[in-house]
């Protein structure tokens, strides 16, 4: 099994380092030819408008969507979660997206850079201890469809921060920036 990391922009190196630590062969994905080499794909945190535009310019958007419908498990973190959403609130006109999960995601949901925060997130499928969530200019999952399972919410706050639909996963925070690899191991099992 080779795990791909979309390497157009963002913190793909951090994801790759965790996967390598877990002993998983990795492949950075920048062009359609790289997509043929991977069995699963992580879309890292970054700027969703930038990654979306590069997905279109280098002809990756449709191939990823097709593979997703067939055999590709995909996990989007932060900007990646925005790209996974069917509906983007607060995006730019015609913002490209993969639209693979039935959910509505609001960009910059907590405000600007100074409103970034960290929080302990109880995640039922992992049990104790809670996951340490790092939210940087983070989006929020405002609503989910019937086929989407909620995995985590910030205690005392509205909205969802981790969700799953079949073999697709979205987290609005950055598990790759902490030492906790439970989300990575969870994704590798999907």
């Amino acid at each position: 099994m080779t795990a791909g990391i979309l390497a157009l922009q963002g913190d793909f190196c951090e994801h790759e380092a965790i996967l390598q630590r877990l002993g998983v062969p990795t492949q950075q994905v920048r062009l359609p030819k790289h997509l043929d080499l991977v069995d699963r794909l992580i879309i890292p945190g970054g700027e969703s408008t930038t990654i979306g535009k590069l997905l279109v310019r280098f002809d990756l958007l449709e191939p990823i969507r097709q593979r997703a419908g067939r055999d590709l498990a995909i996990w989007g973190t932060c900007a990646g979660a925005i790209l996974m959403a069917r509906t983007i609130i607060g995006g730019i006109d015609g913002q490209p997206r993969l639209g693979l999960m039935d959910m509505a995601v609001r960009r910059n949901a907590y405000g600007r850079q100074v409103d970034s925060f960290e929080a302990a997130l109880p995640v039922a499928v992992f049990g104790q201890p809670p996951v340490h969530g790092v939210f940087i200019r983070a989006p929020i999952i405002e609503s989910v469809g019937a086929d989407v399972t909620v995995l985590a919410e910030v205690p005392g706050q509205q909205g969802v921060v981790a969700a799953q639909q079949g073999r697709h996963l979205a987290t609005t925070f950055h598990p790759e920036l902490t030492g906790d690899d439970r989300f990575h191991r969870y994704f590798l099992e999907l």
Partner: protein, 279 residues
């Protein structure tokens, strides 16, 4: 998350939208790009808050703005305006010839320029969350950015070869805190991201800096002082992603129109060099 991205200088909301459309990960809101600051001379200060606000409202990506070195009140004002990052920048005229801003006093993250590892770690010690090479802004000449990036990374490689006893003297020679020097020696990289800045004018310049090891690229005057800003902006974004793919870089570099006119740095009088500002 700015890594692997391009941050573009803009002087109007219209330019900010062009930058966002081209795929910039952030914009730097300014009244004048460095090339114009250089041409017009005089004291260069923080931009008009009205302009910064208009740019903040025109895009969905992060907005940075510059404060003068040591001018902590300009920084307070920029924080109050809600900018996402403050660049404590040698491109503006320094307000303090000894002290940089104590960046720990702020919630907003700071980016600072550096020419070598010691300068980089002094800025981190003061609370900088991000670094960039100083380069020589507003020249369209990448040579100084290359010098600064090479210096920082070769100094890091040298540290990695020292034993624990030698790191104390290394810290003394770098004029940087021992704890940070030790951390760099252990990790083999800076504790924060380091972008290239100062003189980047072409997709090849951006890819050169990425291959030298920076985490991303600032483009100042290079885009909106060129013949076709939209195409050049897009091409520099693409080159920053595909920096290791010469065939693709050849495609990306085609037909971009006139680049900005460059300045040979050795022809500049000493007092017009910006990179020497900061301590």
């Amino acid at each position: 998350m700015l890594k692997g991205g391009v941050i573009m200088d803009v002087v109007t909301p219209e330019q900010a939208r062009i930058a966002e459309e081209a795929g910039a990960v952030a914009v730097m809101a300014l009244e004048r790009v460095p090339a114009d600051i250089r041409a017009q001379g005089g004291v260069a200060r923080m931009s008009d808050p009205e302009l910064i606000q208009a740019i903040v409202e025109s895009v969905t990506i992060p907005v940075m703005a510059k404060a003068r070195i040591g001018h902590f009140v300009e920084a307070q004002i920029l924080e109050a305006l809600g900018v996402d990052y403050i660049d404590e920048s040698e491109v503006l005229t320094p307000a303090d010839e000894e002290h940089h801003i104590n960046k720990h006093d702020f919630k907003v993250p700071f980016v600072c320029g550096c020419r070598n590892l010691g300068e980089a770690l002094r800025r981190v010690a003061e609370g900088a969350a991000m670094l960039r090479t100083k380069g020589e802004a507003g020249t369209g000449n990448v040579v100084e950015a290359v010098r600064h990036a090479r210096t920082v990374y070769s100094e890091i490689r040298r540290l990695q070869n020292l034993d624990a006893n030698e790191l104390y003297t290394a810290a003394k020679n770098l004029q940087a805190p021992y704890e940070l020097v030790q951390q760099v020696a252990e990790m083999g990289r800076l504790p924060v991201v380091n972008f290239a800045a100062g003189g980047i004018a072409t997709p090849a310049d951006a890819a050169l800096m990425m291959q030298l090891g920076v985490d991303g690229v600032f483009v100042g005057s290079g885009i909106f002082k060129s013949g076709d800003p939209e195409r050049r902006a897009r091409a520099i974004v693409e080159a920053t992603t595909h920096y290791n793919d010469p065939e693709l870089l050849a495609q990306i570099s085609k037909g971009l129109g006139e680049p900005m006119v460059g300045i040979e740095i050795s022809t500049l009088p000493q007092e017009q060099l910006l990179a020497g500002r900061g301590w």
